[in-house]
C-alpha cells in the first residue's frame, strides 16, 4: 500500500506550542517572538508559548485546543524528543488525535543550551519550529506495534546492585540470568571490612545475599562470564555470553577446596587482594565465594605452561574427577526481555598523581589496600601494619579527594570518600588507640542518614581534621623529627599556614571512576555514557535507572559514584521497572517500519541485501520484494537505497523529510517558486 501522498491536503490545522522551560529556553530564545511568528505560518491554526509545556497544565492546553479548535496536527518546540516526545504524544492521544500526528522541535538541547547569542538562537528556534510545522502536515496516523515481553531478565554485574536487582526479580517469580565476569559475585563490597556509618561488617550483611542469589531457583548464575553480543530490542533481546573455562567441572565439584590446598604454587592476587596478598593458582577469590567452584588461572598454572603438575587433579576426591584441563570456553545464547546493567566502578589510579608517592614510597596505601588490611580475613589478619607487614603505625594521614574534585583528573565529587575516610580514621583509633590520625580534606561531605553524626563521633574520637588539599607526600626530612617518616605537606586553610606533618602511614582515598571498558559496554548495549564514562540515565532526577534505550536499565555505581545504600536502592528500583514491564506483558513499539509498494517494485533486488536484519524477501514468482514487518527495525537504509523510490519508511517518508528540509531553511530559501519535491 502506498501511504505516501504526493499532494497532501495543505489545509491541516496545526497547533504550535513554544515552551519556556522555566528560563532554560526563554532566557536565550525570544519565545514570544517565535510564537507570534509561528502563528503566521501557513496551516497554523494557533501558536502559543507557555512556561512548562510538559506540566499537566501545558498538556491540558494541547488537549483543549485539539478539542476546541479542531487541531489536526500538533507541534511542540521544547526539549529533546528523547525527553518528552512520549509525554506530548500521550497528550495528543488524550485529546483525541492520533499520537503520530505530532512533531517535536528541540530548541533546548540543540539551541538555547549551546549558545548565549539570543538573535541566532531565536532564528534557529524559528527554523526548527518551522521544519516541524512543514513536516507535520505530511504526518500520517499510525498504530503502535505491540511486542511481547520475554519475562526473563539479564543482570550484568554481580556487585551489591546487581545481586539486589536479581534477587528482587527472582523473589517476584521471574527468571534472571546474572552474569559476572569474576569467579565470584560480590563486587567491591566483598572486599570491604566494615561499612559506614553503622560499621556493620560488610561480609556479614553481604554473604547471606550472595548465598540467596547462588541458590535461588529463579537465578541462573553465570560467573567467570562476559556478554559478547547483544541483538534485538525491548521484549526480545538475544544475548551471547562467553562462559570462560574454569577447568573445573561444575557438575561434579563439591567445592571442598582440597585442590586449592594441594596446589603447590602461589601468585600475588592483584584483583581481590589488590596486590596485598597471595592466592593459589587454582583459587577462589575469597572463602565465602559464590559459587563455591574454584577457577584455575591458566596463565600461571604449571601444568598449562610446562605440561607437568596436575596435583589438583590427583587430589580431587570426586568421582568422576572434577578437574578438567580440556574444558573450553562456552558460548551461551540466552533470550531475555529486559537487561539491567550493574557493572560498578573502579578506583582512580593514584600513581597518576606522583607527588603523593604511591608506588614510590612504600607506606603510601590506597583505600582498597587498607580495606583488605583491616579485614580480619585479609592478608594481615586485620592488623594495621606498614608495608614491612610488622610495624604498627603510630601516626596515619588520610588524604581525601585523590583525583576527585580536581581539574586535572575528575571534576566530580566521588561522594563516598569522605565517609570511608572517616571510617578509616575510626578503624585506626579502634585498633591502635594511641595513634594520631590526620584527615586532610577539601570540604567534609557527609550528606546521608546518620553520616554527619558519624563525623561528629570522629571529632570526639580525637581525629585531627585539616582542611586543605595536600600538596605532596615526601620522604625528604628537614628536621630530625621528620627523619624516616612520610611528610605530608598541606596548607591548613583554617589556620592559614603551611604544615608539614610527619607520619608513618599515608592512606589515599581515590576517586570512584567508571569501569575502564564502560564505553565499550555502553556501545555493546547500545545506550549512552557520559564524558566520565558513567552510564547515562534517562532523566537525572525523574528516571535515574532507565536509559534512553528501551529495555535497558542501570543500577549502582556504574551510573555515578554511590555508596551501598544508594546502590541497593537503584538495584531494587531497576528490578521494579522491569517487573512492571513483565507484568504488562507487551510493550508498544514505534511503528517506524519500511514497506514496499509492490505494484511499483521493479524487482531490481537492490534493497534485498541492504537490510542488516534480512527483513526483505524476494518473491521469485511475482518478481517483487517485500518487507517482513516483524523483522524490520526501521533503520530506513532500504528506503534510501531503492532506485524507484517506492519503499516507504513510516514516519520518515521522503515527503516528510524533504518538507522538513524546506522548512528548516525558511529564511535562506531562494526567492523563486517552490521547486517540486
Amino acid at each position: 500500500m502506498s501511504e505516501e501522498q504526493k499532494h497532501p491536503e495543505q489545509n491541516e490545522r496545526v497547533g504550535v506550542y513554544i515552551c519556556h522551560c522555566g528560563t532554560n529556553i526563554a532566557n536565550v530564545v525570544d519565545v514570544e517572538d517565535v510564537a507570534e511568528w509561528a502563528g503566521k505560518q501557513p496551516n497554523v491554526e494557533i501558536a502559543r508559548e507557555y512556561k512548562f509545556m510538559c506540566s499537566s497544565l501545558g498538556q491540558d492546553l494541547i488537549e483543549e485546543d485539539i478539542r476546541e479548535k479542531g487541531l489536526t496536527r500538533v507541534v511542540v518546540s521544547s526539549c529533546s524528543p528523547h525527553m518528552h516526545e512520549k509525554t506530548f504524544r500521550t497528550a495528543c492521544e488524550r485529546g483525541g488525535l492520533n499520537p503520530f500526528l505530532f512533531e517535536m522541535a528541540n530548541i533546548r538541547e540543540h539551541d538555547s543550551w549551546i549558545t548565549n547569542d539570543k538573535v541566532a538562537a531565536t532564528q534557529k528556534a524559528k527554523a526548527l519550529t518551522n521544519a516541524a510545522i512543514e513536516r507535520v502536515v505530511h504526518h500520517q496516523p499510525l498504530e503502535q506495534l505491540p511486542v511481547e515481553i520475554n519475562p526473563n531478565t539479564l543482570v550484568v554485574g554481580g556487585g551489591i546492585a546487581g545481586i539486589t536487582a536479581a534477587l528482587e526479580l527472582a523473589n517476584g517469580g521471574h527468571h534472571v540470568y546474572l552474569v559476572e565476569r569474576e569467579p565470584s559475585i560480590g563486587g567491591h563490597m566483598a572486599q570491604l571490612d566494615k561499612t559506614f556509618p553503622t560499621l556493620d561488617c560488610s561480609a556479614c550483611i553481604l554473604t547471606p545475599k550472595m548465598v540467596d542469589a547462588g541458590q535461588h531457583p529463579n537465578i541462573t548464575l553465570l560467573t567467570w562470564s562476559e556478554v559478547e553480543k547483544v541483538d534485538g530490542y525491548i521484549g526480545n533481546f538475544t544475548v551471547s555470553v562467553r562462559k570462560k573455562a574454569r577447568y573445573i567441572n561444575e557438575d561434579h565439584c563439591t567445592g571442598c577446596g582440597i585442590c586449592i590446598e594441594k596446589c603447590p604454587f602461589k601468585v600475588i592476587d592483584d584483583v581481590f587482594e589488590v596486590g596485598m596478598g597471595e592466592r593459589k593458582v587454582v583459587y577462589r577469590p575469597f572463602p565465602q565465594a559464590v559459587p563455591k567452584f574454584p577457577v584455575i588461572d591458566k596463565e600461571n598454572c604449571v601444568y598449562f605452561q610446562r605440561g607437568k603438575c596436575k596435583a589438583c587433579q590427583i587430589f580431587c576426591p570426586t568421582e568422576p574427577n572434577s578437574i578438567d584441563f580440556e574444558q573450553e570456553d562456552e558460548i551461551l545464547s540466552i533470550s531475555v526481555g529486559n537487561i539491567i546493567l550493574a557493572t560498578g566502578f573502579q578506583l582512580f589510579d593514584t600513581a597518576k598523581i606522583p607527588q603523593y608517592g604511591y608506588g614510590r614510597l612504600p607506606n603510601v596505601f590506597t583505600s582498597l589496600e587498607f580495606e583488605r588490611m583491616v579485614n580480619a580475613s585479609g592478608p594481615t589478619d586485620g592488623k594495621i601494619v606498614l608495608r614491612d607487614k610488622q610495624t604498627e603505625p603510630k601516626t596515619v594521614a588520610i588524604i581525601h579527594c585523590v583525583g576527585s574534585r580536581d581539574e586535572n583528573y575528575h571534576k566530580y565529587c566521588s561522594k563516598i570518600c569522605c565517609m570511608y575516610s572517616l571510617k578509616f580514621a575510626h578503624l585506626v583509633h579502634e585498633r591502635i588507640p594511641d595513634a594520631d590520625v590526620y584527615n586532610c580534606y577539601i570540604d567534609m561531605r557527609t550528606p546521608g542518614k546518620g553520616y554527619e553524626e558519624f563525623y561528629h563521633r570522629l571529632l570526639e574520637e580525637g581525629t585531627h581534621f585539616i582542611r586543605g588539599k595536600v600538596a605532596e607526600v615526601t620522604n625528604a626530612a628537614r628536621i630530625p623529627e621528620e627523619k624516616g617518616k612520610l611528610i605530608v605537606q598541606v596548607e591548613d586553610t583554617l589556620i592559614g599556614r603551611q604544615r608539614r606533618i610527619p607520619v608513618d602511614m599515608v592512606l589515599l582515598s581515590p576517586a570512584m571512576e567508571a569501569q575502564p571498558d564502560s564505553k565499550e559496554i555502553s556501545q555493546l548495549f547500545k545506550m549512552g555514557c557520559d564524558f566520565d564514562g558513567f552510564f547515562t540515565e534517562r532523566h537525572p532526577k525523574l528516571d535515574p535507572v532507565a536509559t534512553m534505550t528501551e529495555g535497558i536499565f542501570i543500577a549502582g555505581a556504574c551510573q555515578g559514584p554511590k555508596d551501598v545504600p544508594d546502590s541497593v536502592a537503584q538495584g531494587a528500583a531497576a528490578s521494579a521497572r522491569v517487573a512492571g514491564l513483565i507484568n504488562i506483558g507487551t510493550v508498544m513499539m514505534e511503528p517506524v517500519r519500511a514497506s514496499i509498494n509492490q505494484d511499483d517494485c521493479s524487482g531490481c533486488r537492490i534493497c534485498n541485501n541492504m537490510c542488516p536484519y534480512n527483513a526483505i524477501i524476494f518473491h521469485e514468482d511475482r518478481h517483487v520484494s517485500e518487507v517482513i514487518t516483524a523483522l524490520c527495525q526501521g533503520c530506513g537504509t532500504c528506503v534510501a537505497a531503492c532506485p524507484s523510490g517506492i519503499i516507504s519508511g513510516a514516519h520518515f517518508t521522503n515527503i516528510q523529510l524533504l518538507s522538513q528540509i524546506e522548512g528548516i531553511l525558511w529564511d535562506v530559501r531562494p526567492a523563486k517558486e517552490k521547486v517540486p519535491a
Binding site: K352, P354, Q355, N408, N475, A476, A477, R478
Partner: protein, 294 residues
C-alpha cells in the same frame, strides 16, 4: 652536524663560564653544533616581566627573531632564559595582537618574528636530540661510584609538561646513569632553589637552599648536578651564608651536568671548567676519577 641557535644568556658570560664551555664542548663531541647568536641581548631574567610585560616579551622576541632569521631553533642553557623564551614563543604564536605589537618594535631593528621556530633547554638537546643511548656509547670515563643528585629545579619541566611528566620526570636521572654515575633518588629535585627570593627575602631563600642541601646530604650525595646557572649559584655560593645563618656545616659540590658529562666523556677537567668552583670538587674526584684528575 645538527645545528641550533645558541643563546647563552648573561650568566654564562661570566659567572657560569664553566657551564658555557662544557655545554659547547660536550654537544660538539656528540655531533651537535651550538651556534651562538651574534648580537643577543638579555632575556629580562626573573624581574623584567614584572616591570613591563610587553617590553619584556619584545626583549626576548628579538633573540627569537634572530634565531628564526638563521632558520634555527633556539637553545638556552639557563632555565630562566629557557622559560622566558619558551613562553614568549608560545604566546606570540597564540596571540596575533601581541605578535603585532612586538613586530612593530622589532621593525626598528629590521627584524620580524613569525613564530616558525621552537625553543629548547640545552638538557633537552641531550635527552631528545642526541639521546641517552648515543651518550652512553661516548662515555670513556664512567663516573663509577659517584653519587650524583640530579637537581631539576622548578623551571625546566613546567613550561612544556604537565601531570605525571611534570611531577615525576625521569630524563635527568637517565642522563646521570648514562654517565655511569649512581643516581641519587633525590626527593627535593623539583623544588625551587629560591633564586628570585634571595634579594627580597634572604632568610626564606637561604632556608630553601638549606632544605635542598640537607636533603642531598641525607641521601649521601657526593655532588649535585644542575642545569641552570641560577640554581648553581644559589646552591653553591650561598653555602657559607646558610652555614652561618643556620649553624650548619655544608660543603657540597654543585656542578653543571655538562661538566660531569664532559669528564665522563674524557674531556680534560680544565676544558669543562673544573677548578673554578667555590666548593671544591677536588675531594670527590680524587676518590672517583683518579684517571682524569691528577
Amino acid at each position: 652536524m645538527k645545528k641550533f641557535a645558541y643563546f647563552p644568556g648573561c650568566s654564562l658570560e661570566k659567572l657560569a663560564q664553566s657551564y658555557n664551555n662544557s655545554s659547547v664542548e660536550t654537544t660538539r663531541l656528540l655531533g651537535v653544533e651550538l651556534q651562538e647568536l651574534e648580537d643577543w641581548n638579555c632575556c629580562g631574567a626573573t624581574t623584567y616581566f614584572h616591570v613591563d610585560q610587553l617590553l619584556a616579551y619584545t626583549l626576548v622576541a628579538r633573540n627569537l627573531a634572530m634565531a628564526e632569521k638563521e632558520g634555527l631553533d633556539l637553545v638556552a642553557p639557563c632555565s630562566a632564559c629557557y622559560k622566558n623564551a619558551y613562553f614568549t614563543n608560545k604566546y606570540i604564536k597564540e596571540d596575533p595582537d601581541l605578535a603585532e605589537h612586538i613586530n612593530y618594535a622589532l621593525e626598528e631593528d629590521d627584524l620580524q618574528f613569525n613564530g616558525t621556530i621552537n625553543v629548547h633547554h640545552v638538557i633537552e638537546i641531550f635527552v631528545n636530540e642526541i639521546g641517552v643511548e648515543k651518550i652512553k656509547s661516548k662515555i670513556t670515563n664512567p663516573l663509577e661510584g659517584l653519587r650524583v643528585a640530579p637537581y631539576y629545579g622548578c623551571q625546566i619541566v613546567r613550561p612544556k609538561h604537565n601531570g605525571t611528566d611534570a611531577e615525576n620526570p625521569h630524563f635527568f636521572e637517565e642522563l646521570v646513569s648514562a654517565m655511569g654515575a649512581d643516581t641519587v633518588d633525590y626527593p627535593e629535585r623539583l623544588r625551587c632553589c629560591g633564586a628570585s627570593l634571595i634579594m627580597t627575602s634572604r632568610h626564606a631563600a637561604l632556608n630553601m637552599v638549606r632544605t635542598l642541601l640537607q636533603s642531598a646530604v641525607d641521601c649521601e650525595t657526593n655532588v649535585i648536578a644542575t642545569a641552570c646557572p641560577l640554581c648553581q649559584v644559589n646552591l653553591e655560593c650561598y653555602q657559607p651564608q646558610v652555614n652561618e645563618e643556620f649553624g650548619t656545616n655544608f660543603n657540597m659540590p654543585v656542578l653543571y651536568f655538562t661538566q660531569l658529562l664532559g669528564l665522563a666523556m674524557g674531556l680534560p677537567p680544565k676544558k669543562v671548567g673544573i677548578g673554578s668552583e667555590l666548593v671544591s670538587a677536588a675531594p670527590i674526584f680524587d676518590k672517583y676519577l683518579k684517571r682524569t684528575v691528577r
